[in-house]
């Protein structure tokens, strides 16, 4: 059986902790180890930060919706925004041997999740789907 939790927060950075605070216990309850859970929280937080920075371009009056679906096989997290659509071909993690500020968020997301996909087919905004397989 798939259990689903949906959470909507304003697109202000001060609400990022609300997402983090909700995701961590969900992931722990789902059986992920603490270290893995912390990395999942980091990755989802980075994805939300990217929505605020790039999709909404700092507009704090919009909304970010997170849907978490858990079943025996996987953890699925879906982030929906109504902002500017990204050029998906340009979303690439930077090289880690360049020690410089910035650009790590995409690397974290791809390092933590098994599948990362962007759907820009709807009228407005993007649905980012992140999937992590269960290993147990």
């Amino acid at each position: 059986m798939t259990e689903t939790v949906t959470l909507t927060v304003p697109s202000h950075p001060k609400y990022l902790y609300v997402i983090r605070s909700a995701v961590y216990p969900l992931v722990i309850d789902a059986g992920f180890p603490k270290k893995e859970a912390r990395k999942i929280v980091l990755a989802i937080d980075e994805a939300c930060s990217n929505i605020i920075k790039y999709a909404y371009e700092g507009d704090a009056t919009k909304l970010i919706q997170l849907r978490v679906a858990l079943d025996q096989q996987r953890l699925l997290m879906e982030l929906t925004d109504t902002g500017r659509k990204p050029d998906v071909s340009k979303i690439v993690p930077r090289k880690l041997d360049e020690v410089r500020p910035g650009g790590l968020g995409t690397h974290f997301i791809r390092a933590v999740f098994d599948t990362v996909s962007y759907d820009t087919q709807q009228a407005a905004g993007t649905v980012l789907t992140l999937i992590k397989k269960r290993t147990d």
Binding site: K34, L42, P101
Partner: protein, 115 residues
């Protein structure tokens, strides 16, 4: 969620203690605190130690802040040493593969030795 910062002066330089979440919402406050330390310590600041034991969460903007701080230290000739990384900070350093880039020590005493 907030970040709290305490700056202390010691014989080898300055110690910045961070507590709370260093994220997109708060990293600019940390950057300002570091800038104030550089202002207070210049010229001739020998070292800046940052205690990360009570950082509950750090994201890529926190990492960017520390990288900028390291670059400023290199420009001014000061040593940057990080001490007592919390589990969340360890995770983000591990993912960013930055553990070998910074000088990291288990405690303040270890980090301040020899300064």
């Amino acid at each position: 969620m907030n970040v709290e910062m305490v700056t202390e002066k010691f014989s080898g330089g300055f110690l910045l203690k961070l507590r709370g979440d260093v994220d997109m919402n708060t990293s600019s406050e940390v950057r300002s605190a570091i800038a104030a330390i550089f202002k207070q310590g210049s010229p001739g600041m020998k070292a800046l130690l940052i205690d990360l034991s009570h950082v509950r969460y750090m994201d890529s903007s926190g990492i960017a802040t520390l990288v900028e701080c390291m670059q400023n230290c290199m420009k001014t000739g000061a040593r940057l040493r990080l001490c007592d990384l919390s589990p969340s900070v360890r995770d983000v350093f591990e993912l960013a593969r930055l553990a070998s880039v910074f000088e990291i020590f288990p405690t303040f005493n270890d980090a301040s030795a020899g300064l």
